[in-house]
């Protein structure tokens, strides 16, 4: 056991700045991906609830396809595949785009379930006391939807954080890729990948706890 821990004592001061920077990159990638997937998810939700049959059909096909294809295939398609037809992204853009296109499907499903959970009477009552449709959505429906979906949204956020590790395979310089570079430099893959894993844990675990705290009262 002391043999396993020895490199951390020896190289800890060299490793930590590298890992800290990579953690920041992973966090930024995750936040950008999540923000964009909420935007795309809301756009999908609008398609799903629209009166146009074509838009609804598009949303259904999109959600089914993107939930059935692994993120890695999407990332490779965006980064390595699209240049073949003349569309080129840099690695970071491809990663953010790939993550958000994939997670938009999940986010829109969450929103839809959240909207379904609000009884119709809420909207009717808001309209009856004189709220405009926009007001009743913004002040009555939306706050309740947010309350319902907050916990699963945080779970989705943590999955996105974990899946952002796949961006390393299209050369985005986040935690795993930094870890790989360090592993070749120091020849200590076990210690370094364990450290990388703990870095993810430090970011993700607080959110996991938070989502459970938020879910508990809603379940009662």
């Amino acid at each position: 056991m002391t043999g396993f821990l020895q490199p951390y004592v020896e190289y800890g001061s060299e490793w930590w700045p590298l890992l800290a920077e990579a953690m920041l990159n992973t966090a930024l990638l995750t936040i950008a991906g999540f923000a964009l997937s909420v935007v795309f998810g809301l756009a999908l939700l609008l398609c799903q609830t629209s009166s146009s049959k074509a838009l609804r059909g598009f949303a259904t096909v999109y959600v089914t396809t993107l939930r059935g294809v692994p993120l890695l295939a999407i990332l490779f398609l965006l980064y390595f595949g699209l240049p073949g037809v003349g569309i080129t992204f840099d690695a970071l853009t491809a990663a953010v785009l790939g993550l958000s296109l994939c997670f938009a499907a999940q986010v829109s499903e969450l929103f839809r379930a959240g909207l379904k959970a609000i009884p119709k009477g809420q909207r009717e009552a808001a309209m009856a006391v004189g709220f405009t449709p926009v007001q009743s959505f913004t002040f009555i429906i939306l706050p309740q939807v947010v309350r319902v979906i907050l916990s699963p949204m945080i779970v989705t956020f943590v999955s996105l954080l974990k899946d952002s590790s796949l961006a390393s395979l299209i050369t985005v310089n986040e935690l795993v890729l930094t870890g790989r570079a360090m592993a070749t430099e120091y020849f200590l893959p076990l210690q370094i990948y364990v450290a990388v894993g703990l870095c993810y844990f430090m970011i993700g675990w607080p959110f996991s706890i938070l989502s459970r705290r938020l879910a508990a009262p809603a379940a009662r």
Partner: protein, 219 residues
């Protein structure tokens, strides 16, 4: 523009990886289900603090760290200790261990949702605690856990693509190696994506059927 014979060649190349994808997914599923159920029973039906703590720590560590990192620890990390796993073994063990953490939570939610009266009634009519768990509680908990478990199976099929990163020869691995020898990148990755879709669509349909069926039972 690539013609049809190129497409056939690509498809044949990718299908070479299909068997490994299926084997890894099935083996990981079995490990995940069996180990996860065992962990769930230990967590729910023992009162030993250390056991509870260990299982909780296991579940949290495996669920909050990316599969890719776990695979690298198993494949590259353990090799540095002299424990060399083949890439397929590492893939199965890695995805199986992660799956155990996931299914442990799903099974636990199933047991938790059963009313206490079930245990009390079973014990009152003279069943032993073991019998109560096996013949009264487990069948009911399974029914509640089923949609969650099938959702996990869909996720698992997609997650097998990640094991290409440790060179396990599955669909994505062949896609990546074909790209280096031909320049049909768009077609190759699009075909790979389509192949995964064909694998997961029937599973997703199954999930929907289960959700509808057991959703109705609950209501």
């Amino acid at each position: 523009m690539p013609d049809f014979s190129t497409f056939r060649l690509i498809l044949e190349g990718l299908l070479t990886g299909l068997s490994v994808t299926v084997i890894v997914a099935l083996a990981a599923l079995v490990i995940g289900l069996v180990l996860g159920f065992g962990l769930c029973l230990l967590r729910e039906f023992t009162r030993i603090r250390t056991v509870h703590f260990t299982i909780d720590a296991y579940v949290e560590l495996l669920r909050n760290i990316p599969a890719l990192t776990h695979l690298f620890i198993l494949y590259f990390g353990l090799a540095s200790l002299g424990l060399r796993l083949s890439s397929i073994t590492a893939a199965i063990v890695g995805l199986g261990l992660i799956g155990a953490a996931v299914t442990c939570d799903i099974f636990r939610a199933g047991f938790r949702s059963l009313p206490k009266g079930q245990i009390e009634a079973a014990l009152a009519v003279g069943l032993r605690p073991g019998q109560t768990i096996v013949s009264i509680l487990t069948p009911q908990a399974m029914r509640i856990a089923l949609p969650g478990l099938s959702n996990y199976a869909v996720q698992l099929v997609k997650d097998t693509s990640v094991v290409s990163a440790i060179a396990a020869p599955e669909i994505m691995f062949f896609a990546r190696s074909m790209v280096t020898s031909s320049f049909q990148t768009t077609l190759i990755y699009a075909t790979a994506a389509g192949l995964y879709l064909l694998l997961s669509l029937p599973l997703m349909q199954g999930v929907r059927v289960l959700e509808n069926h057991y959703g109705k039972l609950k209501a």
